[in-house]
């Protein structure tokens, strides 16, 4: 068959998603923005179609199209993750009592545009497509963060996001240009295997020539990933942007955008520095790169947890907690083994459930109380018991205690960390989990153990409450029966099989 048509068939989910984004935009224009809820339902229906197309592809062998787009189970896993996260974010927007009902069709268009960026970002080993996907995601996220441009906080959040995003994109692209100048290729798989003779091409001859410039380029490229995952020292934007953005957008940034950064980093490290590298200098260099990531992991989780301790606002606390979780995920990346990558993917799944849930409950409190301060939630657990009990499940999972999915995720990460000689990092992570217990449980304490002085009744939102309860049940269910997700992760493993 014509390779062009074949490639287009392989890219069907991306094409459908792009078409959906444009349809939503035009339909909202044609209806003059009246009743944007319909656009939300249209988006949900379209996402269900894309999700179905992706689910049918799980387990198919890896193939490369157009020389840069890799269609494999690893990418499909993160695409499904994105679709599932964006669908929940759409339900959040539809349930948000503070949101206008009309003229917000662009909300869905921007979300879908960002998803297209993620789709390409997680399915390539080519640095050009990686940068383009990352920029598409970033640009849509800037606009989403500033969606309530009339509110000072939202405008400020978007501005801070743009400024930090521009800086990290500039550093990353310059690093890529240096790496290209040294190795003569933009394809990571080719870069790792090429062995040029006259001009140094490929990574191996370049490393033999001099390792220092490669190190500079690598650290610069790492800056781009660190920004998307909010890893120290590119985390400064996180608390402010999370606090200022509308809560559904914060959820998107915390879950889908971070997963995209994790997936791209896994591909980058997996292609260039697998632990069973072909050449001894790659192994030597990979060890140093892994150590750098391990140190970043330790600093990130410690800083995130210590800063979260003194937060009064639940939204800011969850922002710092998401920084800390980026640190935990990096343990799996730092091992550079198939098991480590699988553990990171498993933890991302756990992160999906517990953070979507926690941000959903935050949105509920904001609607009911008009405040995100932990103090104002005193005694609320007795008014809306179902949602509050779900919240306790999310908090237990975020801390990493049994019987939740977060416990099993952390167990896998710690196990592979110890097995790969990162025992010190696992000890740091375990101590950090103890620290995180304090601030997560201050929320639970405020919900159930304090008297309320607020006479306002609980909100009645059966659909939204049902969704949150379902996520809460799944958080515990997959903690008790982790095998199904484990099998899925192993099927989609990047380095294994």
């Amino acid at each position: 068959m014509n390779p062009y048509i074949e490639g287009m068939q392989a890219l069907a989910p991306e094409l459908v998603l792009t078409a959906l984004a444009l349809i939503v935009l035009v339909a909202d224009l044609l209806t003059k923005g009246k009743d944007s809820r319909r656009m939300g339902y249209l988006t949900l229906a379209g996402l269900a179609v894309v999700g179905g197309m992706l689910a049918l592809r799980l387990g198919e062998p890896s193939q490369t199209y157009f020389g840069m787009v890799i269609v494999d189970s690893f990418g499909t896993f993160f695409k499904l993750f994105t679709v599932a996260a964006v669908a929940v974010v759409c339900v959040f927007i539809l349930s948000d009592k503070n949101e206008r009902k009309n003229g917000i069709g662009e909300y869905y268009f921007l979300l879908l545009g960002a998803s297209v960026g993620i789709f390409f970002m997680v399915s390539t080993n080519h640095l050009l497509l990686l940068v383009l996907g990352l920029e598409l995601l970033s640009l849509a996220s800037y606009a989403l963060a500033g969606f309530h441009k009339g509110q000072r906080k939202s405008a400020e959040a978007a501005m801070k996001y743009v400024v930090f995003g521009g800086l990290s994109a500039g550093i990353m692209v310059y690093g890529i240009s240096l790496l290209y100048g040294m190795t003569g290729t933009l394809d990571l798989a080719e870069m790792a295997t090429l062995a040029g003779d006259s001009i140094p091409t490929g990574l191996v001859p370049q490393l033999y020539l001099s390792a220092m410039p490669v190190g500079v380029a690598m650290v610069m490229i790492l800056a781009g990933f660190a920004y998307k995952m909010s890893v120290v020292p590119f985390h400064f934007w996180t608390p402010d942007v999370y606090e200022g953005s509308p809560t559904p957008v914060t959820t998107f940034l915390a879950v889908a955008s971070k997963a995209a950064g994790v997936a791209a980093l896994l591909r980058f490290v997996g292609a260039l520095f697998p632990v069973d590298g072909v050449d001894e200098i790659i192994m030597w260099y990979g060890d140093r790169f892994g150590m750098l990531i391990a140190v970043l992991a330790a600093v990130t989780m410690t800083l995130g947890n210590l800063s979260a301790l003194r937060q009064q606002s639940l939204k800011r606390m969850l922002a710092y907690s998401s920084i800390a979780h980026a640190g935990y995920i990096l343990i799996g990346v730092a091992t550079r083994t198939s098991e480590g990558f699988d553990a990171a993917m498993y933890y991302m799944t756990a992160y999906y459930f517990m953070n979507l849930g926690a941000f959903g409950v935050l949105l509920y409190f904001e609607s009911a109380l008009g405040s995100d301060r932990i103090e104002d939630m005193r005694g609320f657990g007795w008014k809306s018991p179902l949602i509050s009990i779900a919240m306790v499940a999310f908090l237990v999972s975020l801390t990493g205690l049994p019987p939740t999915i977060g416990f099993y995720g952390k167990y896998l990460l710690f196990k592979v960390g110890v097995a790969e000689g990162l025992g010190w990092l696992v000890i740091v992570a375990a101590l950090n989990s103890v620290v995180s217990l304090f601030y997560y449980f201050s929320v639970a304490k405020s919900l159930f153990l304090k008297e309320s002085n607020d006479e306002r009744p609980a909100l009645s939102q059966p659909l939204f409450a049902g969704l949150l309860t379902a996520i809460g049940v799944l958080t515990i269910f997959f903690g008790l029966f982790p095998d199904s997700i484990q099998e899925l992760v192993e099927m989609c493993s990047l380095l294994g099989s």
Binding site: L132, R152, K153, A158, V173, Y174, G184, L186, T201
Partner: protein, 107 residues
């Protein structure tokens, strides 16, 4: 006689450093966005230098040149989004200084 590759790479390095210094030292949001553009253009120069250096053997290596064109597009889009947000900020606060971004932060 063409310019040696080393000179181009050094010039790009200087441009990038000016960009980083400008980003860190200036308080005006528009100048900070300009500094980011400078960093991206330093990357473009390096890409083109690398593209030429690797084509020297025989067939041309266009990957770097194509990347540079895409970076120009990305830089333009980023500038447009950034400047739109600067305008939104200016309408509200009559200033484009980063010091006016003080609503969010740890108490």
């Amino acid at each position: 006689m063409s310019v040696p590759t080393e000179h181009l790479v050094i010039l790009a390095g200087i441009l990038f450093s000016i960009g980083v210094a400008g980003f860190c030292l200036r308080r005006n949001l528009i100048v900070m966005l300009m500094s980011v553009e400078l960093m991206l253009n330093a990357a473009n120069l390096t890409f083109l230098a690398g593209s030429r250096a690797h084509s020297a053997g025989g067939e041309p290596m266009l990957e770097g040149a194509v990347f540079a064109i895409f970076v120009i597009v990305v830089a333009a889009v980023e500038a447009s989004v950034g400047l739109a947000l600067v305008i939104a900020l200016y309408r509200r606060q009559q200033t484009v200084s980063v010091d006016s971004l003080n609503q969010l932060g740890d108490a």
